[in-house]
């Protein structure tokens, strides 16, 4: 069965269809959560909360084609909240800027991206992680396509800036 049909079934309350879907996305979700929260325990917690919330609100999905994006946004919101709540993590992140410990080299770009303003991060995840078209993002966020492009451009510019600065250190 194709994904849209599964999503349609899930929207009408079919738990099995929902589980089938979530299994397909779970690993992507975990990677994103880990990128934000930097440890397994929190990342699992975020995925668990996202699974619960999406199961509860699945009936509100209007456009089955955007299920993946909808899920990603729920997860991002949870990750932002968890990070906000944990000042300990914030502190650690401050230290991480410009840190060349090999341990952190693994997530160089990811760290930079997760420090961008939320809306820019979301666009990057939607655009490059989920591989969505510009037009889809515009529909999703209720903003014209031109705005998406310019916001994306701003996000990229900022990213490039971070990247160059880091390179110069």
């Amino acid at each position: 069965m194709d994904e849209e049909a599964l999503v349609r079934r899930a929207i009408t309350g079919d738990e099995e269809a929902f589980l089938h879907l979530i299994k397909q996305y779970e690993q992507t979700m975990y990677r994103m959560a880990f990128a934000y929260l930097k440890n397994e325990h929190d990342a699992i917690e975020a995925v668990q909360e996202a699974t619960y919330r999406s199961l509860k609100k699945i009936h509100t999905v209007k456009e089955p084609g955007y299920f993946g994006t909808w899920l990603v946004r729920i997860l991002l919101n949870i990750c932002h909240d968890m990070r906000k709540r944990s000042s300990r993590l914030d502190l650690q992140e401050d230290i991480e800027i410009g840190d060349h410990a090999p341990n952190h080299e693994r997530f160089e770009i990811t760290d930079i991206i997760t420090k961008l303003p939320n809306e820019q991060q979301e666009l990057i995840f939607l655009k490059y992680f989920q591989d969505y078209k510009n037009r889809d993002i515009a529909i999703l966020q209720n903003i014209p396509e031109g705005t998406v492009k310019s916001r994306l451009h701003a996000a990229l510019k900022k990213l490039k800036l971070y990247f160059t600065e880091k390179g110069e250190l």
Partner: protein, 435 residues
């Protein structure tokens, strides 16, 4: 520039790909989420157990009720009215109530454990109450659950069904919505002192008890006794009475026990006035009390209490019925088998452990309806379902799965249909004797 971008994102994707996946933990967490969800669903269903009711959820907003944006925005500004604005788009009766100022503002606030609850006002009649409220906290409350909810009259809990939910996709510190209480029996408002009791499922299990009484007079229900017999392809029903109060019009219908067919429901019930304006059944909320299988049901419609029509005619049509003897399925939960089912076009039944899944063909658009009704075991004991779900596998099929509590059940179990689209052709009318 483009190349740099490409490189950044390739790196990003590569970095994410390096993250190890703890498969086992993920699976465990998924199971936990599902269990938590199911538990909460069960709790929500329990609220309804005390009173037999039928509910419908509005899936598509009905466009037949036109609301001027000016009217909607004017009432949205009155404190406590915001939750009612949505209601007027699907219930003409509520629109009339607000236009006729049949509303009593209360504005009673209490704050405990950082939670503030305000009972904004009340619309009350002999059949029920609508209580708009707001609650807020210095933290996100969109997911806050309730544990208990009661409406008390002079100290005693009123036997009533309550319909409520709040919904916000985003985090929010403020919820504005309404409780709808439907009383089992009409209540007497003389010297009535009410208390709204609500307990939240927060850490401290915060409770609010809000006493209130009403100063404005309560509109008297207009009741018309009809006892009008109607026949649909030889199947007899009696329209016993029509009662009109501000919140709803109730129509009580009894079935003739000697009918050859069992009537499952009425898909078209309308009231028409002399100008051709019509009032239909409730689209979103409580639609009926009683159970047709027991021979009598009271069906609720949108109210026209505040109108003064010269004539009012009740139309009943699209009566759904199945021949007696072909109106149930028989299953054996031990053998996981369907023992018998009537030969109805498109009917599919499956038994799996304590689950029964049924598919029937439908012409309904964007609407779900319950298919499986009363279930009785071999000893005549009624068995209940713990949870159920509906879905539409495609445009022309409704599927329902019910999970029954089969502890101590004696097989076989007979489960009666509550819906099958086999319509009797006729439409009957009766004039309501307004004076």
């Amino acid at each position: 520039m483009k190349q740099v971008k490409k490189h950044d994102y390739d790196t990003f994707v590569k970095e994410l790909a390096q993250i190890d996946i703890p498969y086992e933990q993920l699976e465990k967490s998924r199971r936990k989420s599902v269990i938590r969800f199911r538990k909460e669903k069960r709790n929500r269903q329990r609220t309804w157990k005390s009173i037999a009711v039928t509910c419908a959820l509005l899936l598509l907003f009905v466009s037949s009720i036109r609301v001027s944006p000016a009217f909607a925005s004017a009432i949205a500004k009155i404190p406590g009215f915001a939750p009612l604005v949505e209601m007027i788009t699907y219930d003409k009766g509520v629109k009339d109530i607000l236009q006729n100022s049949y509303y009593e503002g209360l504005g009673l606030s209490q704050t405990k454990n950082d939670l503030s609850f305000t009972l904004q006002g009340v619309i009350a009649d002999e059949t029920g109450m609508i209580l708009p409220y707001t609650f807020s906290a210095p933290f996100d409350v969109h997911d806050l659950k309730t544990k208990k909810m009661e409406l008390r009259l002079n100290g005693d809990v009123l036997p009533a069904g309550v319909n409520y939910s709040w919904y916000s996709e985003k985090d929010t510190p403020l919820i504005e919505d309404k409780f709808e209480f439907i009383f089992q029996d009409p209540i007497n408002y003389d010297n009535a002192n009410f208390e709204l009791y609500i307990q939240f499922a927060d850490e401290k299990q915060t409770e609010f008890t809000i006493p209130f009484s009403l100063k404005k007079p309560i509109a008297k229900t207009k009741t018309y006794i009809l006892n009008e017999k109607m026949s649909f392809q030889g199947q007899q029903i009696t329209v016993k009475s029509v009662s009109i109060s501000p919140l709803r019009t109730s129509i009580t219908i009894a079935l003739d026990p000697n009918n050859e067919m069992r009537i499952l429901g009425f898909d078209d019930i309308r009231l028409l006035d002399e100008k051709g304006e019509e009032w239909t059944t409730i689209n979103n909320g409580l639609t009926a009390t009683g159970n047709l299988i027991d021979g009598e049901e009271t069906i609720y419609m949108q109210s026209n209490y505040f109108r003064e029509p010269k004539n009012l005619t009740l139309f009943i049509g699209k009566v759904k019925a199945l021949p007696k003897g072909q109106d149930f399925i028989e299953v054996d939960f031990n053998q996981k088998k369907v023992l018998s089912k009537p030969s109805l076009p498109g009917l599919k039944v499956q038994v799996n452990k304590q689950m029964v899944t049924m598919n029937v063909p439908t012409s309904y658009k964007n609407k779900n309806i319950s298919l499986l009704g009363t279930a009785i075991d071999a000893n005549g004991k009624t068995i209940y379902s713990n949870s159920g779900s509906h879905h539409r596998p495609d445009e022309y099929v409704i599927e329902q799965t019910e999970t029954y509590d089969i502890k101590g059940v004696v097989n076989p179990v007979r489960i009666y249909f509550t819906h099958y689209e086999n319509f009797l052709d006729e439409t009957q009318t009766v004039d309501i004797p307004l004076k």
